[in-house]
């Protein structure tokens, strides 16, 4: 039990790092992803093009490569960024592309009559998107959006490769422990992730039931 007592603080720190990383990156991803989705359906061609380019690039780039560019690449253009903020930015930028795609499928699922009615009563593009389409789109994409964010929590593990001492990094860090202790670490890490993902999945289900639109 000595092993557990000695490393309890380390474990708690790692867990809180993962949690903080997930919350901040999730925020970045949601805000940027919504903006990108709005750009992709906007009437202005260069905005559409820019958003499409962003999504296609990030969807086809490994997250590890995104980390590379943020952590080792940005200093080349004189933006030095710490490891933790770099991780938040990497995970957030990467996830935003998927949030955008999930939202866009939701926007497409809103029946055309809604948008037509919004236009008919004289709402502008911005108004009809804000007041009519996006609120419904968000409701239909609760499950896929939730899954994207849950997958994001698991993706924060990649920060372990870039000097962020979050949950997964405990395994290489405590690698000198004996077999039993290291197994315990693995169990702890897995449980740590589940403590975040399972309640999130539950919350997603709850929210889905509460906001579902009957069509």
């Amino acid at each position: 039990m000595d092993f557990v007592r000695e490393n309890a603080d380390l474990f708690l720190d790692a867990f809180l790092t993962t949690l903080g990383l997930s919350l901040l990156a999730g925020l970045v991803a949601l805000v940027l992803g919504t903006l990108l989705a709005a750009m992709r359906v906007s009437p202005i061609p260069p905005l559409r093009g820019l958003a499409t380019f962003y999504v296609e690039t990030f969807r086809n780039t490994p997250l590890t490569v995104v980390f590379f560019f943020i952590i080792f690449g940005l200093p080349q253009i004189d933006f030095v960024i710490g490891f933790f903020p770099g991780a938040v930015l990497s995970v957030g930028l990467y996830t935003a592309a998927f949030v955008c795609e999930a939202l866009r499928s939701g926007i497409n699922a809103v029946s055309a009559g809604q948008a037509e009615a919004a236009r008919a009563i004289g709402l502008t593009f911005g108004q009809s998107l804000r007041e009519v389409v996006l609120p419904q789109a968000f409701r239909t994409v609760v499950p896929p959006l939730g899954n994207v964010l849950i997958a994001m929590v698991k993706n924060t593990s990649i920060a372990a490769g870039f000097s962020v001492s979050e949950l997964s990094s405990l395994l290489p860090r405590l690698v000198n422990a004996d077999a039993g202790d290291l197994t315990l670490v693995l169990v702890g890490v897995v449980v740590g992730y589940m403590v975040i993902t399972l309640p999130s999945a539950l919350a997603v289900n709850r929210i889905e039931r509460r906001v579902a639109i009957l069509r």
Binding site: P43, I44, P45, P46, L47, R48, L50, E56, R59, N60, T61, P62, L63, T64, V65, F68, F69, F72, G73, Q76, I77, D78, Y94, T95, F98, E101, A112, A115, E116, R119, F125, S128, L129, P144, N147, V148, I150, A151, M152, K154, N155, S157, I158, A160, G161, S168, L171, P172, V175, D178, A179, L182, L186, V189, V190, Y193, L198, S200, A201, L202
Partner: protein, 301 residues
């Protein structure tokens, strides 16, 4: 965007506004690009000589990157083949008539989908040696990829098998086939044909995930670029750093775009040949596309 429902076909005023918006948008994009280029040029990153090293065989860079790419592809191909085989077995297992097989297989699938891929790889790489099983970085990486991807593929295959028309199975039983025959001769061939585009899309995810090898120091493309950078930095200072990273990223993006394109092409082909294919999922859910162990957490009900 054939019929925009969110905005009217623009009239003269709106067209002018859109033109202004377009001009502003283009300006903003150009300004961002110019800023980045200026910063890069200010640091001398755009000098032709720095980029020439990527294409100059005498510098050994193209060879080293090529070998690193080969190792990446090797991991991806071995991983994909093994994951497909294991995924098929798991899918059939989950549809088994025996309850204990179903429960066991479902638990395995849900577990491997719920754990981050990197944790699986770490477990194989750091934990197994403690129990006397020493895996090379290659097999730890492949192993992790296979465990996770087979779980995802199992769900895809299961959906595919279930999407085959019920009459097919009933007819096969009616002909007197045994259940193994029904599965291998009737259901699987049809399911796999339909699942082909999704399989290719999953290959894109798997290829992206091979970059996790970087973290356990397997010399795949990204680690290869990093080693080159370290080597050059020792000799000439960090003048080639940025170029090598860009090269690695471009290779990933190009390969993945080609594969995504292939997936769409195959999808079009199968869709025209089989009307029924339209009822089966032809795109991976966004969270699976994210890789890194993404995929739904078992829905709590």
């Amino acid at each position: 965007m054939t019929t925009p429902v969110l905005f009217d076909l623009p009239g003269p005023k709106a067209r002018r506004r859109i033109r202004i918006g377009t001009a502003v948008g283009v300006l903003v994009v150009v300004a961002i690009i110019a800023l980045v280029l200026a910063r890069l040029a200010g640091n001398g990153q755009l000098e032709a000589q720095r980029w020439a090293v990527l294409f100059d065989p005498a510098s050994q860079v193209p060879q080293a990157l090529g070998q690193a790419l080969l190792r990446t592809l090797q991991v991806a191909i071995v991983g994909m083949v093994l994951a497909t085989v294991l995924g098929l077995l798991l899918a059939v297992g989950r549809l088994s008539e025996h309850r204990w097989v179903r429960v066991l297989v479902s638990t395995l699938i849900e577990f491997f989908r719920a754990v981050p891929l990197l944790v699986l790889i770490f477990a194989l790489y750091f934990l197994l040696p403690k129990f006397g099983i020493r895996l090379s970085a290659f097999w730890a990486l492949v192993g992790g990829l296979v465990l996770y991807n087979s779980a995802v593929l199992a769900e895809i295959f299961r959906a595919g098998i279930l999407s085959v028309d019920r009459g097919q199975r009933e007819a096969a039983y009616g002909l007197g086939m045994r259940k193994t025959q029904v599965m291998t001769l009737v259901l699987l061939p049809q399911a796999i044909r339909r699942m082909l585009p999704v399989l290719i899309a999953q290959l894109v995810v798997l290829l992206k995930d091979t970059s996790l090898g970087f973290i356990i120091s397997f010399p795949e493309l990204l680690r290869g670029a990093r080693s080159l950078v370290e080597f050059f930095t020792l000799q000439f200072g960090n003048q080639y750093t940025f170029q090598l990273y860009v090269a690695a990223a471009v290779v990933y993006i190009v390969i993945n775009l080609l594969l995504s394109w292939l997936a769409r092409y195959v999808e079009r082909r199968t869709r025209t040949s089989q009307k029924a294919a339209a009822t089966t999922p032809t795109e991976l859910p966004a969270d699976v596309q994210m890789g890194g162990g993404g995929g739904a957490v078992p829905a709590a009900r």
